[in-house]
């Protein structure tokens, strides 16, 4: 591969790469505000300026400038190299680029940073971006000098509501235009633009419009400073108290990679941030998805219950045992959930097909919904593909409703509380539900066992493209909840069976055999095919 040299380090590049993109791919960061790997390059922040050495024998590109001689107090004419924006300069074979090693580049960064802070308000103590703000990082790295301008800064609108989700602070804005370009290039809704010039610049919403749609949160996320904030996260938490776990969005079958930010002191999730994955979501997430972090707390089943009355888990297991003892297995059904991890569904499949010996397997989940051609998938379940791989012949939820109505099924063990269609007829069956969130299947259940949500245990999910992705544990289990596979092991023990899984690694070991890693050519699950 062709290479160029950045500060003496060889950097390979592909045709069409800019200097900053090739360096970024190698993990070398050239400081920047306006450049974003997923957006076009306007080269307007001037932070990524680099010095390009002339080819041997060629005249360098230079500028005539006047330099103040501090001793004499006189200006004298000198020449300095003309710097180039690394985000716009195409990489070329043998190019010699100087960044951190060039005094001119360091000087330019210092001066650009000084300009950007010229009118910046003293907002760090009240700014949600503080702690993850590029202005703060670059000041310490490249500027380090105190303010020289002591005039009143230019004042601009603060706390402007751009729409139902986003608030804009004009004084904090560095005019990188990332939000404008995101709405135009990715969300395909050019609703933002810039008005005025120079230090009167500000970002505005098109007249008669507001910033709405399905991708407004991303404008906040691409903002390198605290100019855009979401109403959801605004003034809720300070980022240096938050810890982050790599997670997978549970909002739909796309399976966007995300960071789940939580405060370990309160065991509370605060936000989702997109986690870059070129193969799935690139750098983006949708609003609905980013808000699903709330489901770690909202609508949760936290206690075991019997006939809607709170019980200890042990009492509920007793009741489940009483319900399911002596029942002929051809009238017992298990309902897998497309919203639960492979591990949870595997445990239920193992209990139903192997230990209990029923052949009635159904799948539940959420009904389909809105879709677009950017990220949002019509299937609102995170693991539909995984469940299909686990039990290829599983019947639909509608079939279960019919079978219960026809009295072919009288006892049901269900994973998850949600149902894609009206689950009312299931009231006729004796239902044991293991669920993290309340729903039709927990309301109809005789026995409910609390499960942890995706945020409280590590689980594998297969997205619509068939990619297996792991969402890691962030929070400690809430209430009396346990991972569903653990509750299922306890249920199996209560029913008099010996579960083969005690730890997560037992299940993970089994899963490797039951579906191929990339899932493009799913093989039949071993135990189900043996039935």
């Amino acid at each position: 591969m062709a290479t160029f040299k950045l500060d003496g380090i060889a950097v390979p590049f592909e045709p069409g790469d800019t200097i900053i993109r090739a360096a970024h791919r190698q993990g070398l960061t050239i400081p920047h505000y306006c450049w974003h790997p997923g957006l076009s390059a306007p080269a307007n922040c001037r932070m990524c300026l680099v010095e390009i050495l002339p080819k041997p024998g060629q005249k360098p590109l230079s500028l005539d400038i006047l330099e103040l001689d501090k001793k004499t107090g006189q200006y004298r004419p000198i020449q300095k190299p003309k710097l180039q924006p690394a985000c716009y300069m195409a990489a070329a074979e043998g190019l010699e680029v100087l960044a951190d090693t060039s005094e001119h580049v360091m000087r330019a960064r210092h001066d650009v940073q000084e300009f950007l802070l010229l009118n910046h308000p003293v907002d760090c103590p009240i700014c949600d971006q503080a702690g993850e703000c590029t202005l703060q990082d670059y000041w310490l790295e490249y500027q380090k000098t105190p303010k020289r301008m002591h005039d009143e800064p230019v004042h601009k609108p603060k706390g402007v509501e751009f729409g139902p989700t986003i608030v804009y602070d004009g004084e904090r804005c560095v005019m990188c235009t990332r939000c404008i370009r995101f709405m135009e290039e990715v969300a395909k809704d050019p609703v933002l633009d810039m008005r005025e010039r120079g230090n009167l610049n500000e970002v505005v919403v098109s007249p008669g419009r507001q910033l709405d749609g399905h991708y407004t949160f991303m404008t906040e996320h691409v903002c390198p400073v605290g100019a855009l904030t979401t109403k959801d996260f605004r003034f809720k938490a300070r980022v240096w108290f938050l810890r982050s776990a790599p997670s997978v969005c549970q909002g739909c079958a796309t399976g966007c990679n995300a960071h789940l930010d939580y405060d370990p002191r309160y065991n509370k999730a605060y936000r989702y941030r997109p986690r870059d994955n070129e193969k799935v979501n690139k750098y983006w997430m949708c609003d609905e998805g980013m808000l699903t972090y709330k489901e770690a707390h909202d609508g949760r089943v936290l206690e075991a219950s019997v006939d809607s009355a709170t019980r200890t888990t042990a009492q509920a297991l007793e009741e489940a045992k009483a319900l399911l003892s002596g029942v002929p297995m051809d009238t017992v059904a298990i309902v897998l959930s497309a919203r639960y991890s492979l591990e949870d569904n595997w445990a239920l499949r193992e209990l139903g097909l192997v230990l209990m010996g029923t052949r009635n397997v159904y799948v539940s989940g959420r009904p389909d919904g809105y879709e677009d051609d950017i990220l949002i998938h019509h299937d609102k379940n995170s693991n539909t593909r995984g469940v299909a791989e686990l039990v290829p012949g599983a019947k639909s939820f509608e079939a279960l409703v019919d079978d219960v109505a026809a009295r072919r099924i009288t006892h049901v063990i269900a994973l998850g509380g949600s149902a894609p269609v009206n689950a009312g007829p299931l009231g006729a069956a004796k239902l044991v539900t293991i669920a993290a969130h309340g729903g039709p299947l927990t309301q109809l259940a005789r026995v409910v066992l609390p499960a942890t949500s995706w945020a409280e245990h590590s689980g594998t999910y297969v997205n619509a493209k068939g990619m297996r992705q792991i969402a890691d544990k962030a929070l400690e289990p809430l209430g009396a909840s346990k991972p569903a596979w653990k509750q299922l092991a306890d249920l199996a023990t209560a029913l008099g069976y010996e579960p083969s899984w005690v730890k997560l690694k037992h299940i993970r070991g089994q899963l490797i055999g039951s579906a191929s890693p990339d899932a493009s050519t799913p093989s039949l699950p071993t135990s189900a095919s043996a039935e």
Partner: protein, 404 residues
């Protein structure tokens, strides 16, 4: 009480043949610093002694790995808590060595003056308490009166009498107060006067001298072999003082002598400390003479030193600098360092490892009295029970720095 009517000859007394076991400490008035000695006595002679440290162990080094580099200062206050300023300076110098920053000259003189004041307070406390434990209460009160004068100055400078937390990476928390020089110059003669009075009272007292002289001596090579430093080593005649051997701050620019003993006994350890108080006075006087009355105390490196408060409240640059240093901590370049200074008890070393973040990756201390307490057993075995009190007092074990 009636006199015994039986005439008892010494030889007729049936003394127990079994050695007697005795616990001294950890809560015992003479076991300062909460140390425990398990003694095996043969009569009043110490057959065996097991010196057990660790009763003041707080996991100081581990605690350092939680906060920022600057948040270590309150912890080092509580190492040798009789001279916290010396620990502050020692730690600051260690971090500065790792960062490659040097503090301005004014700050160096200021640190020397404050440090020597702390040394005076350390030695006064040690010698005073030792005398008191032998029954000489008056000199103790005089020495403590002198120490109060030192603490008054330190309180004026730092706001705290004991745990100052006054050191900073790249400087001190505050510049010297306008009256600092005046206060020192007024107090030092008074301190020395009190010292001389107490000294006269003690060194002309036969009982006091008998309890110290030739008690628990140690030779220079033995002391070195055990890693002793500080006054206890110098009492054996080895003139090793970090300030002379490896000068830091401005110690190579001032005149002072290193008092040494000859026999390495308890009396020598007592006298060396008295001598060092006089030398500290000399150093302070020279430091005051040479310290500028104005000029910066902190180096102006935004990576390590907080900006002026007025800047923090009015400019974004100041706010960012403050925010970065407080919330994320000064980022100390990755690497490791061993830095050592002469503290009250000897060579106080800090071994620090940085991974380049705002939090120490590892902080390790070499407390001078740890090695010294390690030699206590050797000094005490074969001596009388009553010798423990002056001998242990002269070693100046401080639990806060010893237990780590």
């Amino acid at each position: 009480m009636e006199p015994l009517d039986v005439e008892l000859d010494e030889g007729e007394l049936e003394l127990p043949a079994e050695p007697m076991h005795l616990n001294m400490g950890p809560s015992h008035p003479a076991m300062h610093g909460t140390v425990r000695m398990v003694l095996e006595l043969s009569g009043e002679t110490i057959a065996k002694v097991d010196v057990q440290v660790g009763y003041l162990h707080r996991g100081f080094e581990k605690m350092c790995e939680r906060g920022t580099w600057a948040q270590v200062f309150p912890y080092v206050d509580r190492l040798n808590y009789v001279s916290p300023m010396l620990n502050n300076i020692g730690y600051a110098l260690a971090v500065e060595k790792l960062c490659g920053v040097a503090v301005p000259e004014r700050c160096q003189w200021y640190r020397m003056a404050l440090g020597e004041l702390a040394r005076i307070s350390d030695h006064l406390t040690c010698d005073g308490a030792m005398a008191m434990e032998l029954g000489a209460f008056t000199p103790f009160l005089w020495f403590i009166k002198a120490r109060e004068m030192v603490w008054d100055i330190l309180e004026e400078e730092t706001g705290a009498r004991l745990t100052h937390s006054f050191g900073r990476i790249g400087g001190m928390a505050e510049p010297p107060t306008p009256d600092f020089k005046k206060l020192c110059r007024a107090a030092l003669p008074q301190i020395l006067h009190l010292l001389e009075e107490g000294e006269r009272l003690l060194l002309n007292n036969r009982i006091f001298l008998d309890r110290l002289e030739n008690v628990a001596p140690i030779s220079g090579p033995d002391a070195i072999a055990m890693g002793w430093t500080g006054p206890c080593l110098r009492a054996t005649g080895v003139a090793y003082d970090v300030r002379k051997a490896h000068p830091y701050l401005k110690y190579d620019e001032v005149d002072f002598d290193v008092p040494v003993g000859t026999k390495g006994d308890t009396l020598d350890r007592f006298l060396v400390r008295l001598g060092e108080i006089r030398q500290s006075k000399r150093i302070i006087e020279q430091a005051l003479d040479r310290m500028a009355d104005d000029g910066p105390v902190n180096c102006d490196d935004p990576r390590f030193v907080l900006p002026p408060k007025s800047d923090v409240y009015t400019t974004i640059e100041g706010t960012i600098r403050h925010f970065k240093l407080i919330m994320e901590g000064a980022r100390v370049p990755a690497g490791e360092v061993y830095s050592y200074t002469e503290a009250g008890n000897g060579e106080l070393g800090f071994y620090l490892v940085s991974d380049g973040s705002g939090t120490p990756y590892r902080a390790r201390i070499r407390p001078p009295c740890f090695q010294i307490v390690g030699g206590a057993q050797r000094l005490l075995e074969g001596r009388m029970l009553a010798d423990i009190v002056p001998t242990f007092g002269s070693l100046n074990m401080i639990g806060g720095e010893c237990d780590h």
